[in-house]
């Protein structure tokens, strides 16, 4: 019923996270109804981003500059490197504004069944960084999953010979969370990670 151009656009949008065929159709309709104010600026922005944005050669963050804005920021604490699984995690920490050091994006976690091994992760540059740069602490901010925890243990062992302090983000009771609605695993982890009051 639609022209092939519209169907192609719907098909491409529907593959993005947060979109399905219905929401892609609605978005495409909105774009087509406002070509000058919505569609052409979006197309130009997509084209510019595709041409300019690339992974930072130091940390793996996505930016149009290399090294990225975070790695170039002189106000950042260069002795502190936070290791995250993906750029989405880096953005989450930046949104929260809780980390003033540098980052290192691993690009995934070790996954036996998913076929992700050590060579598939951005590990070697991290091991080089901690030796060549004045890094005093590496924070492993990986997910509280079996794969995330396995990767954190594995990485901690690889970093040990360098002598830098290796820490992990805590697991436990979320802010605003009541104990009676937490699952047993989170409660167990919270009790294990207890500290002096």
């Amino acid at each position: 019923m639609n022209s092939p151009e519209i169907d192609r656009l719907i098909g491409l949008l529907a593959k993005l996270p947060g979109f399905g065929p219905r929401s892609a159709r609605r978005a495409v309709l909105r774009l087509l109804q406002h070509p000058q104010t919505r569609m052409l600026p979006l197309a130009a922005a997509l084209s510019e981003a595709a041409a300019a944005v690339a992974p930072c050669s130091l940390c793996g963050n996505l930016d149009s500059r290399d090294p990225c804005a975070i790695c170039n920021d002189p106000a950042r604490d260069r002795t502190l490197v936070c290791v995250v699984e993906g750029v989405g995690d880096l953005w989450a920490l930046e949104r929260a504004g809780v980390h003033r050091g540098l980052y290192h994006v691993l690009g995934g976690t070790l996954s036996a069944l998913g076929g992700v091994g050590p060579d598939d992760l951005n590990v070697r540059p991290l091991l080089t960084r901690v030796v060549e740069e004045p890094v005093a602490e590496v924070i492993l901010a990986l997910g509280a999953t079996v794969e995330g925890a396995s990767t954190a243990h594995w990485l901690a062992e690889r970093l040990q010979p360098s002598g830098v302090a290796v820490t992990r983000v805590g697991h436990g009771v979320p802010i605003g969370g009541a104990l009676d609605v937490l699952d047993d695993g989170t409660l167990g982890a919270a009790l294990k990670a207890r500290r002096p009051a």
Binding site: A112, L113, V146, D183, G185
Partner: protein
């Protein structure tokens, strides 16, 4: 079609945006796949971690369909092991081996019971490695590749058994091994008749994992033209490291 049973999560891979394709191990229905709706979502991803014991309900219109899972957490084996690198390695290895070696929907109650016992024994520390080796032997036996470590395959002796034939999986005494010693696998002391786990050390656990690894690799995975899971390789490297450290 539907069933409800206690099940251990062996694997859960994200499917779509929030769902997961999960493989669980049950006593009655064996290794079973299904779609866990919302299994990769923020609220449910914690439940679908390998090593967790769940009460699972599987529903499908026809028995040969993938079907879908709903589940409630019974024992958070994954979360309890996460802080301990060795326990997490053991858990990941056992789940990956079970996922790769077992045929889907073929019941293996002994494998399920053994894996459940292994998960509850994880907090005991490195001694759980002896349980893991025994569980892998039980898995091999369930698949039809059982090892016979009770008497010497050559002489029938029951004493002095310190080798295992890599071809037959049967014990060989030191006296009968003769010039073939170099080709035989060492039989760890804790698996010899009359031995107990209390005497086991890291070197023996490494020998045990090498022995079961040989037969798992050849018989359970080799017949499927697949390598042993990377999680098991990492566990073996860790245990070999413990053995080297203890040796120094």
């Amino acid at each position: 079609m539907e069933w409800e049973a206690p099940a251990i999560v062996l694997d859960a891979r994200p499917y779509g945006e929030g769902d997961a394709l999960a493989t669980v191990l049950t006593e009655e229905f064996g290794a079973h796949r299904g779609l866990a709706r919302g299994g990769a979502s923020r609220s449910k991803a914690g439940i679908w971690q390998p090593g967790n014991l769940l009460e699972v309900r599987w529903v499908a219109r026809l028995s040969d369909q993938l079907g879908s899972f709903t589940a409630e957490l019974v024992h958070p084996g994954a979360a309890l092991a996460m802080d301990d690198a060795l326990a997490l390695s053991v858990l990941s290895s056992a789940c990956a081996v079970a996922e790769g070696a077992l045929t889907e929907r073929e019941p293996h109650p002994l494998v399920f019971a053994g894996l459940l016992a292994l998960i509850t024994r994880l907090p005991v520390g490195p001694a759980v490695l002896a349980d893991l080796v025994r569980w892998e032997m039980a898995l091999l036996a369930e698949l039809g590749y059982g090892l016979d470590l009770t008497q010497c395959v050559l002489s029938g002796e029951t004493d002095g058994l310190i080798w295992v034939s890599p071809r037959t999986g049967r014990a060989v005494s030191d006296a009968a091994a003769g010039p073939w010693k170099e080709r035989l696998l060492p039989l760890p002391a804790f698996l010899r008749p009359g031995a107990n786990d209390a005497v086991a050390d890291a070197a023996q656990w490494a020998q045990g994992l090498a022995m079961t690894g040989h037969f798992l690799g050849r018989d359970a995975f080799g017949t499927q033209h697949r390598p042993l899971p990377a999680a098991r390789d990492r566990l073996v490297a860790r245990v070999n490291g413990l053995a080297d450290h203890a040796g120094h």
